[in-house]
């Protein structure tokens, strides 16, 4: 790290992203704003994936600090232990793309504050660890943020089959990823590979929403 590399210009970075992704698609990605609630195994991976494709802006919310026990699945490093997750992740994302607009929300979110904190986002990605915050966030988004894209997650612990992780549509522009049942129990903890599968379901679904793709099939509970 002693030898400082030249940082590519914004034009150079945008050019390679547009070459890879297609100019029209990249223009859309570059204008998009995504909020991520919770920066653990899901949220840190979603943020990195969206930063790599040159998202316009990320709002990143977490109240916690990086701990040694996080490193089995979360996108942090030994030298970041003790730092707030928001600060650590902002630092990592800037190393991927220094031109992305990043906003840290360093607080414990509640159902009541979510619509205000994430006002104006195109897509909100729910990456909470706490089971009670998951329905709370869905209620907040669906009642207080009309028309917002939303991707939640439920059920990704352990090392169950890859293909039991699914993304289902529950309302227009509102999706949930996961297997809906794998919670943390003894011998069935959260592990990088499967949490990563779920996180990347979420990231890709967020991208699909941003690019205007609406999945019509796979309603969640038959009638919703």
């Amino acid at each position: 790290m002693d030898k400082k590399k030249d940082i590519p210009s914004l034009d150079a970075l945008n050019k390679v992203l547009a070459q890879r992704h297609g100019p029209e698609i990249q223009a859309r990605i570059g204008k998009s704003v995504v909020g991520i609630m919770g920066l653990g195994g899901l949220g840190s991976a979603v943020a990195v994936a969206l930063a790599r494709i040159g998202i316009g802006k990320l709002l990143l919310a977490d109240y916690d600090v990086v701990e040694l026990s996080n490193l089995n699945r979360q996108y942090y490093f030994i030298d970041q232990i003790g730092l707030p997750k928001t600060a650590a992740l902002l630092d990592t994302l800037r190393r991927i793309n220094p031109y992305i607009s990043l906003q840290a929300i360093n607080e414990r979110l509640t159902e009541q504050v979510i619509p205000e904190r994430f006002k104006g986002v195109d897509v909100l990605v729910e990456c909470f660890d706490d089971a009670a915050m998951k329905p709370a966030a869905l209620r907040a988004a669906h009642t207080g943020m009309k028309g917002v894209g939303y991707v939640g997650a439920s059920g990704m612990a352990g090392f169950g089959p890859n293909n039991s992780i699914l993304t289902k549509r529950i309302y227009p522009r509102v999706y949930l990823a996961g297997d809906e049942k794998s919670e943390v129990v003894e011998g069935h903890g959260l592990m990088a590979p499967r949490v990563g599968i779920c996180a990347h379901h979420q990231a890709n679904q967020a991208l699909r929403i941003l690019l205007g793709v609406e999945d019509k099939e796979s309603g969640y509970a038959n009638h919703l």
Binding site: L42, D129, N222, H223
Partner: protein, 66 residues
């Protein structure tokens, strides 16, 4: 009396409140998103919300981890 919960018919006691119904299903009410007849039930109403006859109830139960 009957309701339709996640597409399936279910017998419930008349007057039962949402919180009791969720507990009967073995769910922690805090981890459940509920929509009744197309309207999202607010969390603070779970204790008082009485399931109406022929209700179409949609529940999403979340598990922790992220």
């Amino acid at each position: 009396m009957q309701i339709i919960c996640n597409g399936e018919k279910r017998e419930i006691q008349p007057g039962i409140r949402l919180v009791a119904f969720l507990q009967e299903l073995g769910f922690n009410p805090d981890t459940v998103f509920a929509e009744c007849n197309g309207i999202i039930v607010k969390k603070e109403e779970y204790d008082s919300f009485v399931l109406p006859e022929d209700a179409r109830l949609e529940l999403i139960r979340f598990v922790g981890g992220g």
